[in-house]
Subunit: 151 residues, 2 copies
């Protein structure tokens, strides 16, 4: 059951595997999109109409805290959530955000070059500004294929 590492993570952290949590995990497993809490809520309702939006928020927050889910902020107000595929290898990637339809595409090209620049930058900035960098965010904003043609 290598696939179900999140269940073990939940258990190891002392939390129960409840029905809403299963539903939400499965929704996240079966999408390549970056869903908002409400997106997830709407999908969850179709599986169990008695689920509450509050539970979705609390579950996502829990998953984020125990490292099962990553929370993103792309500048529209809603937070968006992505299931971490493999907890071992920190698969570092970035996002293309369509400013029109809000679609988000993952990409991981030029990671070597990026890593080089980031290391260099981080080293310099910690010297110049005595700033200890923990992580960085790179986002590209523009128009996706569809929204270019429709515009």
């Amino acid at each position: 059951m290598e696939e179900l590492w999140w269940n073990h993570r939940l258990h190891d952290a002392g939390f129960r595997l409840t029905h809403p949590r299963e539903i939400i995990i499965n929704i996240l497993r079966n999408t390549d999109k970056h869903l908002s809490a409400e997106d997830i809520y709407i999908k969850a309702l179709k599986i169990n109409p008695s689920i509450g939006l509050t539970t979705v928020y609390r579950t996502l927050d829990l998953f984020n805290q125990i490292g099962v889910v990553q929370k993103f902020d792309f500048g529209d107000k809603r937070s968006r959530y992505e299931l971490i595929k493999n907890p071992q290898k920190q698969e570092h990637h970035h996002h293309l955000v369509c400013i029109q339809c809000k679609t988000i595409i993952d990409y991981n090209n030029f990671m070597k070059e990026e890593l080089e620049l980031m290391n260099k930058t981080e080293k310099a900035l910690s010297k110049i500004h005595h700033f200890m960098i923990m992580h960085h965010v790179i986002n590209f904003y523009g128009l996706c294929k569809n929204c270019q043609t429709s515009a």
Copy 2:
């Protein structure tokens, strides 16, 4: 009066130079911080106690639209605003965000290298994903000098 280009910009765009607008411009001129709407509102109250928070929001939005102010989002909920120093030369810079005290430091080291990587990336991504990139955001998150020692 080279310094007061924002007034001309306002006028050229067909807007009035009102008292609240002057106050807000001056607050932004006299800080190196990235103030939120409320930060600005509190400072403005000391100059004119009858100013309204709504006006601050509307003014900042207007300034953003006519290119006098840049609006940023650093992941805490509030938007933050920075006066554009020189409208001619697009001074491109990025931010170090302290995750503890929320201080934001501007930096512009390694801009040549960054620009290279960004151009390369943008070109490749537009090919691979047919994505037309309009702008990008790079933020570093970590601990500033003070918060390292106090932690």
